[in-house]
Subunit: 509 residues, 2 copies
């Protein structure tokens, strides 16, 4: 083996190539390991030298940018504007909203000093003379600093509603981290709105749940269940948390986005009142809502397979890759010449095309690379194709190849990208729907959870105690009370007490 | 006065309205105060509860988003991709590149703990048991963490160049802060590229200087001088710093963007080598380049006047505002009906239009508001206009009104927006050009600097000592050695020593 490595080194075959040639762990072998490997090998993200903080690599970031662009468009279409608030929050702000500080994790990055200096040995050390009077917290979420600001922005009903969103990084000092799913620093958007009435604030928080669901289903091709959180799973400081819940291929649920109706809690904590049309002074009503780079993890785990990523065309940075098959430079030139017009036509349709004419890598290597990276369509074209007026198109979702007439390519590509998007959604929906199981006893509950996983639809007596007990016994939590839940008399799956509706349980990320 | 405030309160006339009715300080009165007031009153930004950190308000952020969109497009057109690196940098990383740690300001936010807790009195305090082994610095710039990452990305010449940019927040613990110009936290982009050859890296850093200059002139309508920094003004760790320098209306210069050729300094510090085509191992060549929310300050100070902001149409969130003039609801309806098609036509041309039909504010109030906010064109239309088939269009740059035939509006608006963009650039260019003064003695130097300001073109003997002395005596620094400098024998303005070219001095932000 050492001889082989020596050979590789001498011939400039880099470690990256070596590691790529090693196959991915399969999902059946070890789902968790498969995910961790895939995220790194497909160039989405990697761990950094800072514990728990990730580097989002260009390919991964390009997907995130596409997500951002669509979400941002949807936020603006629903009347929101972007703004930016400080990354630091004075420690005292956290104490102001009692349920927020109690319920929110206290694992935060705390800034205590504001200067470094060289010590007598020339080492860089913290200057103990530069200690802050009040510590600053790197924001884990921004309700407190934003409501402290809104106090200055709001005088009367004329200043309402405030419909603001922020794209930002936040930090939560997680102990066990996983790329995208749970990292100390992550990127997200957080909407924070202020309203004159309770009804308007509730309507806003429900509207944003719909926006998130629409984004998840139409762009990520990821079906979600819309629902409300139970008391214990609610955001700290919220009166109601609306959620979208997705199902991963291993049968575990993933909370993909939440929208909170905050009542007047933050307005009261930060003394934000407005003068009504009738001249009365009242506290303002609030919502907040967010999705994060966690969606990247959800995207990977919804569609990808043992060969690598599978990306829905609407979020794929490269929708079509073209690989020329040639024996020499002359052939490459001929093929390139023939492709020029085709590439221009595809681009003019708004399709993102990469023509990979690198001679440093063989076609077989490229095929594996783009499969790993989940490019929806791969075109291969060689000299014989040129003679026949054809080319070969491979679909990433079905791992199927077709020979297509060269002249039909543009329309075939356009049509097939739509088909892939639809197929991915349908496949994920079928999987999800076949993994919602109604159970009527706790034995059945445990059996289904272990053998099959997925969502378990069960009666629950509505108490936190029962919820806690079920979690302790099975690791399953209430994912949501679905928006479209039907009234149905039944008995709690654990206690046998009366229940009027089923809720969805699952093990979750 | 107290009676008046009482009256206002009773009638719901908010403090915002009261403060707006107060005129801006004029530039002649106090330029610095004018700037500070304008940034707040025009809803660009405001100070937060966190010392030195600003809140960028929706209107200000909308301008920043437009800047970002254009710059991002230009970066991508020149082959760059975005990525994201951790906000925290382990303290030890800073020590690795000696000139970087020595030259770079040590005023940084230092994270020392990772948990809060409730003390016996229920107060939130830092948990002393959760002390980090190694302190983390909130990034003031990311060369160190990025080059620590590039070591893992680069094996051979095939992996080069790496052309990566990041949009991020950074923190420098500035003692005296001013909105946009100097804040503890600011937003920026930082490009970090890795190359196989010195020539390629130099070409990259020069290219980005050109990109910045083109953005400043074509979008911000802000003329800039391209040049190189002197040794003492260079970025810590760079071999060459290319800059674009703009001139504000008070005769002070503002460094608007810099691009650094970093040589192999960071590659050596972080042990980043690559295998050449010939099989040799060599250190990688680097550049970095950035512009920040400081550009917002530059934009304000280049064009705005005593009535408020003046925005170049290409960066204005609202390009045209339409204010209906009416006596009752019926008139408003008639006017609104008439405008529908016009608004649709303007939008279809990609022009951003706001129709302000709020009945809570009078037209006069609206006129002042949009003047303050720098909207390039304001259309007013009343019942008489409807009869005459006309409307009134006011240009913000010239404060000029014209009566236009209703049917000509779309073409007039399109043409005039282009004219305004050109006019703003020309006006700023004339001002800038008339404020570059050649001087040949130190007396003259001081006289011009005090009486007229602007750039002073003077011979300099090339030593840091002289540069330092001039700065001490006049507060002027060498802004740059212009790219297009001519060889010209002369004598240093301070020491009389031999000099072969003039450089540009100025007082600067």
């Amino acid at each position: 083996m050492s001889k082989l490595i020596f050979y590789y080194k001498r011939h400039n075959i880099c470690a990256k190539l070596l590691s790529m040639s090693k196959k991915l762990t399969t999902r059946a072998e070890d789902y968790s390991k498969w995910y961790n490997e895939l995220v790194v090998k497909a160039d989405l993200a990697e761990n950094s030298g800072v514990r728990g903080c990730m580097v989002i690599k260009p390919y991964g970031y390009a997907i995130w940018e596409k997500m951002q662009a669509e979400l941002d468009r949807m936020f603006k279409e629903t009347g929101h504007q972007n703004a930016y608030f400080p990354i630091f929050i004075p420690k005292s702000y956290f104490s102001k909203e009692a349920s927020h500080v109690d319920g929110f994790a206290k694992e935060c990055a705390v800034v205590t000093h504001y200067r470094l200096k060289n010590d007598e040995n020339g080492n860089v050390v913290v200057d103990e003379n530069a200690k802050l009077e009040e510590e600053l917290i790197v924001r884990p979420t921004s309700e407190t600093i934003i409501w402290d600001t809104y106090r200055k922005w709001i005088e009367s009903y004329r200043d309402l509603p405030i419909l603001v969103n922020q794209w930002a990084n936040v930090v939560r000092w997680e102990m066990r981290t996983r790329l995208f799913l749970r990292t100390a620093e992550f990127l997200w958007q957080e909407g924070h709105t202020a309203h004159a009435t309770k009804q308007e604030a509730i309507a806003e928080s429900k509207q944003m749940q719909e926006v998130y669901a629409s984004f998840a289903e139409n762009f990520m091709a990821m079906p979600v269940i819309k629902g409300a959180k139970s008391d214990s799973e609610r955001f700290a400081g919220a009166l109601e948390t609306y959620t979208i819940e997705a199902l991963m291929q291993d049968g575990k649920a993933l909370q993909a986005g939440t929208s909170h109706f905050l009542g007047q809690n933050f307005a009261k904590a930060f003394d934000v009142k407005f003068t009504t049309k009738e001249g009365k002074r009242e506290h303002v009503w609030a919502t907040s809502w967010g999705v994060s780079t966690r969606l990247m993890g959800a995207l990977v785990m919804t569609h990808s397979d043992d060969k690598g990523l599978v990306l829905p065309p609407k979020l794929a940075p490269i929708q079509v890759v073209i690989v020329p098959i040639h024996r020499n430079d002359e052939q490459l030139e001929t093929i390139t010449e023939k492709l020029k017009d085709l590439i221009a036509q595809l681009k003019s349709k708004g399709i993102s095309v990469k023509y990979d004419d690198r001679t440093t890598h063989k076609p077989g290597w490229k095929f594996a690379e783009y499969e790993l990276k989940g490019v929806p369509l791969r075109i291969a074209i060689g000299m014989r194709d040129l003679e026949n007026g054809t080319l070969e198109i491979a679909r990433r979702d079905l791992l199927e190849k077709n020979i297509i007439s060269f002249d039909d390519t543009v329309s075939y590509v356009g049509k097939t990208l739509v088909e892939i998007q639809d197929n991915l959604f349908k496949r994920a929906l079928d999987y999800r729907n076949s993994h919602i199981t109604e159970v009527n006893s706790f034995e059945e509950f445990k059996e289904v959870l272990e053998a099959k996983g997925g969502f378990i639809s069960a009666h629950w007596d509505g108490t936190e105690k029962t919820e806690e007990e079920i979690k302790k016994l099975t690791k399953a939590t209430i994912r949501c009370i679905p928006n479209d839940v039907k009234n149905e008399d039944g008995k709690c799956v654990l206690t046998g007490s009366k229940s009027s509706r089923r809720v969805l349980f699952a093990k979750a990320y």
